[in-house]
Symmetry: C2
Subunit: 363 residues, 2 copies
DNA sequence: ATGAAAGCGCTAACAT
DNA sequence: ATGTTAGCGCTTTCAT
C-alpha cells in the first residue's frame, strides 16, 4: 500500500529513493531495470525504499532518455451519425489489457475524416508513440505506405489486400472460411437452395466472404445461379432483396455478409409469415448486438477479436525488439454462434448487457 | 508539406531549427509558445525553418520540463463476455476529437476488474496524464475519493449520487426527464395504462428513470398500481415480465429502463400476436444498435453523448487552468427517437452501419 | 527582442 | 556490485 501523496507535493524521484536507501541513483535505476546486477540485500533495501515512498518512475524522463514512450497509437475515426464501433469495443478492450501487461498504454488519436494519414506523422515526430496498430487496411494502403516510408513500427488488423510489397506483420480473420462455416451449417440443417446476400462488389472483404459461400456451394454441387445478390449494408435494402429472392419458393437459406443484412432478411420473413429457423434459415456475420437480441435470435459468424488483439500486441513487441516475424501474417478462424434463426431449439436471445461503464449503462 | 524523414534519422530538434533559422534555441521555443515576443521577420524565418524541417516538439522533453503530458486518462474496463460499450463509442469518439483540438490525447488504461482504483495512482505518480475522465460514478465513489484525496484533476460523466461532499465538475443526463419524455409520448399517442419495466431497486440510475415515469403518470392522474416492475436487464427476463403484465388487457404501453428490456417486451408481443405500435406502444432507453435494427423499429430515449463529451473536455480545461467551475454540475436533456414501436408510420428500421474501422466492418 | 545558463528525472557509458 | 558523469530536448529565469 503506497502512501497518499498530494499532487502538489513533488512525487519522489530516483534521488529521493537513493537517499532513502543509502545508494546512488544509478543503483535504484538498476534495481528497476536490471535487478540481476544488484546484490540481494541491496536490492531488497532499494525495493523497500521504493515501496515506502510509493515511487513510480517519471514517464517523461524515462521516455526522453530511452526514446521509448511505451505508447501504442490507435486512430479512432471521427464518429459519423449512426455509425458504431460496437465490435471494435471487444477488440480495444483486449488491446488495452494486453498492452498493459508490459507497461504499455493505448493512445487514441483522431485525424481529419478526409485524410487517412492525418495524425500519424505528428505523433511520430513528437516521439509520442512507439508503434501503431492500424485497423483500416481495407480502405487502402495509404497509411501503411506512409508508415513504411518513414520506418515507423506498425502492425495491422487486416491482410494487405492490395499491396504485394507489404512487409509488415498482420493478423486477419478468414472471412471466406466464415461464410463457408455458415453455408455448411445451413446445409447441415437441411437447406439446399442457399442465397448469398452481400455487399457491393467493390468491397474486398465482402467478396472474400462471398467466395466462401461459392466454394461451399460448389463443393456440394449446388447451383448458385440467381442466388448471389449484392446490395448496400442496410436493413431495409436487405429486406427488399430478400423479398425478391423469396419469390422463388425453393430458396430456404440465407447466408449474409453482415448481421445488418441478415436482420433485413428476418424482417422480410416476418412480413411474409415465414418462420425463421423453421421455414427459412438465416445466418449473419459479426455476432453483433443485433444478433444477440433480435427475434428469434440470429445465428452469426463470430470473429475472434480478442485473439486478434492479443496476437497484434505480440507482433508489436516483436517489431519493437527487432525480432524477425515469421510468418508475417496470421490468419485466424472465425466460429459460428448458433441461434434460433437456423435451429429452432437453440437458446433464447440474451441481453444487451449493461456495460461496465455508466455511459453504456445509462444509455 | 513536411519532408519525409525516416525514424532512424534523428528528428529535428529545437537546435536544428535554431541553426537553420540563424537564431538561438530559445527564440525557436518562443516562436512556438510566445510568438508575440518575436519580431515579425524573425518569426517568419523561424516558422519557415520549422516547416522545412518538419519539426514537431518532442513531447517527452516538453512534458519533463512543463510537467504536463497533454494526456487525459480514461479507464477502459476489462471486457466481459457479452458486454459491449456500444454507446461508449459515440462518447469516446467525441472525447478524442474534442481533446485533439487543444493537442491533448486520450490515454486508455485498464485495471484489475475487482479494484476500481487500480491504474489511477500509477499513472499519476508516473506523471503520465494531466487529468482523468471518469465514467463509472454509479458504481460508487471510490475513484472520485481517491482522486480528490491526492489532488488529481478529474471530471465525471455522472452526478455524484452518494457523495454530498463532491467538489468535482460533472456532466450528466437527466434520466428522469428521459422517462418522462417517453411516458408523455406514449400518452400522446393514446395510451393510458402504461407500465414501467425497469432495473432492480439497487440501481440509482434505474430508480431515477423510474421516477420520471411515476411523475408523468401522476401528473396525468393515471394510476400506476401494479404497473411498475423491476427485473434484471435481460431480454428474456423482460419478455416474461411483459407476459405477466399483458395478462391485464388494459395495459397498452411500456416504458422501459433500457432497450434490452424493451426488446424483451417486443418479443412478448410477438408471441401473443400483438402488433407493436398499433396494439401496444413500447419505448426503450439508449437508442442502441438494437433499437435501430429490431423489428419494427424501437422508439427510444437518446442521450446526447457527444455533448456530454464536449462539455467534459471543456470542464477538464477549466480544471487544468485552475479556472473556477460554476456551476459544478451540468445536467443535459435526453431526446426521444420515435420509431414504429409507438408510431406505425415512423421510418423503417435502418442499419447496423458499417463502421469506419475494419474491425467493425469485418465483424 | 534575443541569447545564455540551468535543470526537469532518467539511463547509457564508463569508472571504480 | 556500485558510483560518477553526461546528456536526452525542452522551457524557465535571468541577462543583454
Amino acid at each position: 500500500m503506497s502512501p497518499i501523496r498530494r499532487l502538489t507535493d513533488q512525487y519522489p524521484t530516483l534521488a529521493t529513493v537513493a537517499e532513502r536507501a543509502g545508494v546512488s541513483r544509478q543503483t535504484v535505476s538498476n534495481a528497476l531495470n536490471n535487478p540481476e546486477l544488484l546484490r540481494e540485500d541491496t536490492l531488497q533495501r532499494v525495493q523497500a525504499a521504493i515501496d515506502e515512498l510509493g515511487y513510480t518512475p517519471n514517464r517523461a524522463a524515462r521516455q526522453l532518455r530511452t526514446r521509448s514512450s511505451h505508447m501504442i497509437g490507435l486512430r479512432f475515426e471521427p464518429a459519423q451519425e449512426g455509425t458504431s464501433n460496437a465490435l471494435m469495443d471487444r477488440f480495444v478492450h483486449t488491446l488495452v489489457e494486453t498492452t498493459a501487461e508490459t507497461g504499455h498504454h493505448i493512445l487514441l488519436f483522431s485525424g481529419a475524416a478526409d485524410d487517412p494519414l492525418d495524425g500519424y506523422d505528428e505523433l511520430l515526430r513528437a516521439t509520442a508513440v512507439d508503434a501503431f496498430v492500424i485497423t483500416d487496411t481495407y480502405t487502402g494502403t495509404a497509411e501503411t505506405e506512409l508508415l513504411r516510408r518513414v520506418g515507423a513500427p506498425f502492425v495491422t488488423f487486416g491482410r494487405p489486400w492490395d499491396d504485394p510489397d507489404a512487409a509488415h506483420p498482420w493478423v486477419d480473420v478468414d472471412g471466406a472460411r466464415g461464410a463457408c462455416l455458415a453455408t455448411e451449417h445451413l446445409v447441415s440443417v437441411g437447406h439446399r437452395r442457399i442465397a448469398w446476400l452481400g455487399w457491393e462488389e467493390t468491397s474486398r472483404i465482402g467478396e472474400d466472404r462471398r467466395s466462401g459461400w461459392e466454394q461451399s456451394m460448389a463443393d456440394h454441387g449446388f447451383d448458385t445461379r440467381g442466388l448471389g445478390v449484392r446490395t448496400t449494408d442496410n436493413v431495409d435494402a436487405a429486406r427488399m432483396e430478400a423479398h425478391k429472392l423469396l419469390e422463388d419458393r425453393t430458396v430456404t437459406g440465407f447466408c449474409c455478409a453482415s448481421d445488418t443484412l441478415a436482420i433485413g432478411v428476418l424482417h422480410a420473413l416476418h412480413e411474409r409469415g415465414l418462420r425463421p429457423g423453421i421455414d427459412v434459415g438465416v445466418v449473419g456475420f459479426d455476432d453483433s448486438l443485433g444478433a444477440h437480441v433480435t427475434w428469434p435470435g440470429l445465428t452469426s459468424v463470430r470473429q475472434p477479436l480478442e485473439q486478434v488483439a492479443r496476437e497484434l500486441v505480440e507482433l508489436v513487441h516483436s517489431v519493437l525488439s527487432h525480432r524477425p516475424v515469421e510468418p508475417l501474417g496470421r490468419m485466424l478462424e472465425p466460429t459460428l454462434v448458433v441461434r434460433r434463426s437456423t435451429v429452432p431449439d437453440a437458446p433464447r436471445p440474451g441481453t444487451i448487457p449493461r456495460a461496465a461503464s455508466s455511459a453504456a449503462t445509462r444509455g
